[in-house]
């Protein structure tokens, strides 16, 4: 849910099955954000999607963040709470970016412990989203899909698969997105994001989320959606927000690809 589309959601007129919000935008004391969220909640189920938990941080989770997040979850009673497989900072520094983890046993232990702590505190399982990335590390010992699968096994968490992020990272790092998607435990996937990207320097794709879903991402989605039946699908746009009608048109395209039982939102 983005600000230019608030009126449609407040009136309950947007033809979607659920609404996803950035959790941190509503982890505030009061005022219009929470007022609007409460009104939207009267019309739609809400999924809470966070960007600041930093589940991969070596110095653990921020307790005050968790308390705020839980307070919002109690208020909203969301479909689920999700965040990203990433870290945002260490030693008090916060980059406000979704920084990549090395895929090592130590990082797996760290992320698993942090996710377990968050789930215990929130009293609900989380969904973890695969990030797009522009780096890999010399110490990497496993693939991202193996890392995510192990996290699900260790913590009982679920997955939010961003198909665009898989395509972007696959292009940047030279892996096959279909191999990635085939290895993901299908029964752990609760939600899918569809988005666009931009072309950066040196042949890198950049996860700008400011473009319509491009053909290669649609093609990937069309090939794998049957594997992930009964998942919620969302068109994600973070910048250059178009009219709601444009997103609804993309959502209709997703509906055409997906099974009739899939839930779709924008």
């Amino acid at each position: 849910m983005r600000t230019p589309h608030y009126d449609a959601y407040l009136a309950g007129e947007a033809p979607v099955d659920f609404v996803e919000v950035i959790s941190e935008n509503y982890m505030v004391e009061g005022g219009r954000p929470l007022y609007s969220l409460d009104r939207v909640r009267e019309h739609y189920p809400i999924a809470m999607h966070g960007v600041s938990m930093s589940v991969g941080s070596a110095d653990g989770l921020d307790r005050s963040y968790l308390q705020r997040l839980k307070g919002l979850a109690v208020r909203v009673q969301p479909l689920w709470v999700s965040d990203h497989l990433c870290w945002t900072g260490i030693d008090g520094f916060n980059s406000h970016d979704l920084l990549p983890l090395p895929y090592t046993e130590e990082a797996l232990d760290t992320a698993a412990a942090n996710i377990a702590q968050a789930q215990d505190f929130l009293e609900r399982p989380m969904l973890i989203e695969n990030p797009s990335s522009y780096l890999t590390f010399a110490d990497d010992m496993m693939s991202e899909w193996d890392f995510l699968s192990a996290l699900c096994e260790r913590t009982g968490c679920y997955l939010l698969l961003d198909i665009n992020n898989i395509y972007v990272s696959g292009t940047n790092h030279g892996f096959d997105p279909l191999e990635y998607l085939a290895a993901i435990p299908a029964d752990r996937v609760r939600q899918i994001h569809l988005a666009g990207h931009s072309h950066g320097r040196d042949g890198l794709l950049i996860d700008t989320h400011d473009q319509p879903v491009p053909d290669p991402v649609w093609a990937l989605y069309a090939k794998v959606i049957e594997r992930f039946s009964n998942v919620a699908v969302m068109i994600e746009r973070d910048d250059d927000i178009p009219p709601l009608e444009d997103l609804i048109a993309e959502m209709e395209m997703a509906r055409q690809f997906s099974q009739a039982s899939a839930k779709v939102a924008a």
Partner: protein, 254 residues
């Protein structure tokens, strides 16, 4: 490399000038490091442009972004929420523009309007209490979103004029008499108003729990004309009521 060490090194790289690459990054993907280096500053500058919208309009892209980069270098973000990141930007602007106090004053106004936008909710004033209040002893409960500071320039007029991006804003000038700039939220809408120093003192006393009767006696003792001061105090209280600055009247603070 241990995870904490790698995260410290990547954090340091992001904050640095980007000249020294990281050892722990796979050789074939070092081309990706500048993406994170760039994104860190770009997202913070965008966040500052969003919160300090009118300050940005006043300075223009280049000067605003230069100031934002100084803020980023001096004050790396340390909160889980980007919403906190504007804290301290006013001080940076004050340092950078000592001869142009309107810049920091605009930034203070932009920042506090955003703080009020997300600030604590408070119950609406029960107007039935007004008729029953013992005004000599009544404590005035002021909205928790109220912020105020002295200003020396026509910052209020500048901020209002900058709403229209096409129009030429008025020139900044020093005020003949210093004023107090107040910001608060009325229902869901942040508001601001410049008030006299006398009204600013009254608000400051009310916030600390001084009764309305004592506020009047303290501030009225210097007044030349008792009737004029009574009229001023009555009008001031009327504005606080109509503007939802006053949220309760009682014998104790909430």
């Amino acid at each position: 490399m241990m995870l904490a060490e790698l995260q410290r090194e990547l954090s340091a790289y992001i904050r640095s000038d980007g000249a020294n690459l990281l050892d722990g990054v796979a050789e074939r993907s070092k081309r990706g490091l500048p993406v994170y280096h760039y994104a860190y500053r770009a997202s913070l500058i965008n966040a500052l442009r969003d919160v300090f919208e009118r300050t940005h309009s006043w300075l223009g892209d280049d000067l605003f972004d230069d100031a934002a980069r100084v803020h980023i270098d001096r004050n790396p973000p340390n909160s889980w929420t980007m919403s906190d990141y504007g804290l301290g930007f006013e001080a940076v602007l004050s340092d950078l523009y000592p001869e142009n106090p309107e810049v920091a004053e605009l930034a203070w106004l932009d920042w506090n309007l955003r703080v009020a936008f997300n600030g604590s909710d408070s119950p609406a004033l029960d107007r039935a209490k007004l008729a029953e209040a013992d005004w000599d002893n009544a404590q005035l409960h002021i909205t928790p979103t109220l912020a105020m500071r002295p200003v020396s320039t026509n910052v209020g007029a500048l901020w209002g004029a900058l709403e229209d991006e096409e129009a030429e804003p008025p020139k900044a000038h020093l005020l003949g008499t210093p004023e107090i700039l107040t910001v608060w939220r009325q229902d869901l809408a942040p508001r601001f108003q410049c008030v006299s120093e006398l009204e600013g003192k009254a608000l400051a006393l009310a916030i600390t729990g001084v009764s309305f009767g004592r506020i009047c006696s303290e501030l009225g003792s210097d007044a030349d004309d008792e009737a004029d001061f009574a009229a001023f105090a009555g009008a001031m209280l009327g504005r606080w009521i109509s503007d939802d600055v006053l949220i309760d009247v009682g014998s104790s603070l909430p």
